[in-house]
């Protein structure tokens, strides 16, 4: 078995893959987030060193873009689309339901680390609105009872595994 590779070492690999130039900053951060599910501080420091830029430059990009998270995210990331089409079809009602059922606000993660709640400006599946994307699955024409079913299903799957 190969030795598990550290955060910094993995980050250096990612930077190398993108050629090391600072124009690849966003792509590097995306890969870091994909690998670790968020942007660990250690990885950001390592990236700054490997790309030969000040930490402030990395932090600037990491905090400017909403796709990046500096906190660990849950196993299942629930993204509620807040596009206009979803808004007029009741996205706010769904957000309320997720908030009260999971007990977290957008940007938060449940204590058991199972769910994170996020809002997205538009996922571009407007004809199906209101839309909720969970991990990579699109759920269209979501109603409150569908929200309850979705959460229940994920919880049951979690109990089995």
């Amino acid at each position: 078995m190969t030795k598990p590779i550290g955060v910094a070492a993995k980050t250096r690999q990612i930077v190398k893959k993108h050629g090391g130039g600072k124009s690849a900053m966003i792509a590097v951060l995306q890969d870091i987030q994909e690998t670790f599910n968020y942007l660990p501080k250690e990885a950001l420091k390592a990236a700054a060193r490997a790309m030969n830029v000040p930490m402030s430059r990395v932090y600037e990009a990491a905090t400017f873009y909403t796709a990046f998270s500096l906190k660990p995210r849950g196993k299942h990331v629930v993204k509620i689309c807040k596009g206009t089409a979803c808004h007029v079809r009741g996205a706010a009602i769904l957000q309320d339901r997720f908030e009260t059922t999971l007990g977290i606000k957008p940007g938060g993660t449940t204590k058991d680390g199972k769910f994170s709640l996020e809002t997205v400006n538009c996922v571009g599946a407007c004809a199906l609105g209101p839309v909720v994307v969970i991990n990579a699955d699109y759920h269209g024409q979501v109603t409150i009872s569908k929200v309850d079913k979705i959460i229940k299903k994920i919880n049951e799957e979690g109990a089995k595994s």
Partner: protein, 615 residues
């Protein structure tokens, strides 16, 4: 330039088209994001398996990009008869193969039924949704599997490139596009050829060509569907543009939320390289050009040109003042052409069919077609492509089939957060760049969000300002602070704390923000507020003076109650209520405790008897 290799370019493309195209018998199943969510990939697998089982392997199954009528997904079209089947399930597949594919018989239960005449309609072009459309750009989606370059060859793909390299000088290309009057589909409506000309003339090397696929306007997804469904049309347009301006490097900037678009574009770029359509010495000529994909990371402002450049360069996407225009100093301060994805997809068409043909479509000032996403409170949701100059009425009632559930139309929102809401009295205006601007909205990238009597216009204005408040990059004060203050005032109005004079303050601030902001995000940010004040002033007044939300949306101003005559006492609402606000005996009319009720809407959604009233 050497002449021989150039004429050869045309020859290569002619041979490829002849070799691959056009297909006769095939099934086109929509595998756009919408239909995928409705389960179309499973149907596709079933189709392939069933064809094999019934020994019809010569029939091809195309997993196409979006076919537009997302409401009816999963949907498929059986060629050559072009029968259109909607809401197809895996269980329907054996019958589709044995009847329609093998014997050409239709299965009437899968056909579209006209909502009024109740007649079943066989083909795509018979459907009211498609009938008045002019799908010269978007219609190609239904003929190709975006992951297969040979499908694009089969519909004359890259023929325009062959023609350009063999027969046209860069100046001729620019002049043809100019003659066609192609205007930017991303929202601004700037003439594409003027940009190209500027970059061609500008000093500086290298020159860059960029496709803006950062479709940020909420409620718009046509660029997504083009990148996913016909990536080669965008790439071909970019190569032609690069040839015209003298560029060697291009970028496609794609939104973070569009993973499938990234996948299909990557496959397409790789395939184009293999075929010698990208890279060094394209089609044997001495013209070289390559394209790289850059992914966004969720920032609306990155759709703005200078912010997009910053983002491609790996920095925070903050716009800069444009004393010097992008055609001279754009990406890395080099001359740059930035056009929207849809604009690029129009280019091969103009070259193939000619500017004169292109000029026959559209209005005086806006030529060609435009793809719109018709969404919100409308019966037929989906993507439509119409000639410029089609009226809003035709779009909403003829193609869109009107408003669902017998509700009354209130407004249509165009242009995303930079646009405005257009009321019923203006539904007769022809849709083009200039007309929409005149009525206080704009074309934007093409979102059309329809709202009915249950949509509150103050809430819509509040929604957009909240959106813009979050998306403002924070660099300039008018946008950062001004939008925030406007948003605060709107929050107050929606919460019943509006004061006399608020509307006037909003108007004055709106003007100041529009005048003082650095980029178009701030410059157009007040539009949703100003246009709703202009056309729906009475709703603002009802909120402020009477503490009433006429549409029944703003939570602080409404109360739920149960209509005792309609309530059957079934108890469904009791189960869904998160705050135990509903009580009542079984089979008797229930009641709502107004203090406990959070007006979340769960009971309204669950009630089958329409018994819950909002006031």
């Amino acid at each position: 330039m050497n002449e021989n290799p150039d004429t050869q370019a045309r020859q290569i493309m002619d041979n490829l088209t002849l070799y691959y195209g056009p297909k006769k018998k095939f099934i086109a199943i929509c595998a756009g994001t919408g239909c995928r969510a409705s389960g179309s990939l499973k149907v596709k697998e079933a189709l392939e398996a069933e064809l094999k089982k019934q020994n019809l392997s010569e029939v091809d199954v195309l997993a196409t990009g979006c076919l537009g009528f997302c409401e009816k997904g999963p949907m498929l079209v059986v060629h050559p008869d072009k029968y259109f089947y909607q809401h197809v399930k895996v269980e329907d597949v054996p019958e589709i193969i044995s009847k329609t594919v093998a014997r050409g018989e239709v299965i009437s239960r899968l056909l579209y039924r006209h909502p009024e005449t109740k007649k079943t309609l066989f083909r795509e072009e018979d459907l009211p949704f498609y009938k008045k459309q002019c799908r010269v750009v978007f219609g190609q989606n239904g003929m190709i599997d975006p992951a297969r370059i040979e499908d694009y060859f089969a519909i004359n793909g890259y023929q325009a490139l062959g023609k350009v390299l063999a027969e046209m000088t860069p100046e001729q290309v620019i002049s043809e596009v100019k003659k066609a009057g192609l205007r930017g589909r991303g929202g601004g409506g700037f003439h594409a050829a003027v940009k190209w000309e500027g970059v061609r003339r500008a000093h500086g090397d290298p020159k860059y060509v960029i496709a803006n696929g950062d479709e940020g306007d909420p409620g718009a997804y046509m660029d997504r569907s083009l990148m996913e469904g016909n990536p080669h049309s965008v790439i071909e347009g970019m190569i032609i543009g690069a040839y015209a301006v003298g560029s060697k490097q291009g970028y496609i900037y794609v939104r973070n939320e569009y993973p499938l678009a990234v996948t299909h574009l990557s496959i397409a770029i790789e395939a184009a390289r293999e075929m010698g359509l990208l890279g060094k010495n394209i089609l044997g000529t001495d013209f070289s050009f390559d394209i790289q994909i850059t992914k966004g990371a969720g920032a609306f402002v990155c759709g703005e040109s200078s912010a997009l450049f910053a983002s491609v360069e790996g920095r925070a996407g903050e716009p800069r003042a444009k004393y010097v225009h992008a055609v001279e100093k754009g990406l890395y301060d080099k001359p740059t052409v930035l056009n929207n994805v849809e604009t690029w997809a129009n280019v091969p068409l103009i070259i193939n069919k000619g500017a004169d043909w292109y000029n026959t479509i559209g209005t005086e000032g806006s030529k060609g077609t435009k793809i719109f996403s018709l969404v919100g409170k409308i019966n037929n949701t989906g993507l439509i492509e119409v000639p410029m100059g089609t009226t809003l009425y035709e779009i909403i009632y003829d193609m869109g089939g009107g408003i669902p559930n017998g509700k009354k139309f209130k407004a249509v929102q165009t242009g995303g957060p930079s646009g405005g809401c257009i009321p019923e009295s203006l539904l007769d205006i022809p849709v083009d760049f200039d007309k929409l601007y005149e009525v206080g909205s704009m074309m934007g990238s093409g979102g059309m969000i329809v709202m009915d009597e249950t949509s509150c216009m103050v809430d819509v204005a509040r929604y957009f300002l909240e959106f813009l408040k979050e998306e403002s990059c924070g660099k300039c004060v008018p946008c950062r602070e001004g939008v925030r203050r406007m948003s605060d005032i709107l929050e107050d109005i929606c919460a019943g704390k509006g004061r006399e004079g608020d509307v006037e303050i909003l108007e004055a601030m709106g003007k100041a923000i529009a005048d003082g902001s650095l980029c178009a995000l701030g410059g157009s940010a007040p539009n949703p507020v100003l246009s709703t004040i202009r056309y729906f002033r009475e709703e603002y007044d009802a909120h402020i003076r009477e503490h009433r939300c006429p549409a029944g949306v703003c939570k602080a101003l409404i109360a739920y109650s149960i209509d005792a005559e309609k309530c059957t006492g079934c108890g469904v609402c009791v189960k869904v209520c998160a705050t135990q606000a509903i009580t009542g005996e079984k089979k008797k009319a229930h009641s709502i405790d107004k203090d406990k009720c959070t007006r979340c809407g769960a009971c309204i959604q669950s009630c089958k008897f329409d018994a819950i009233k909002v006031k």
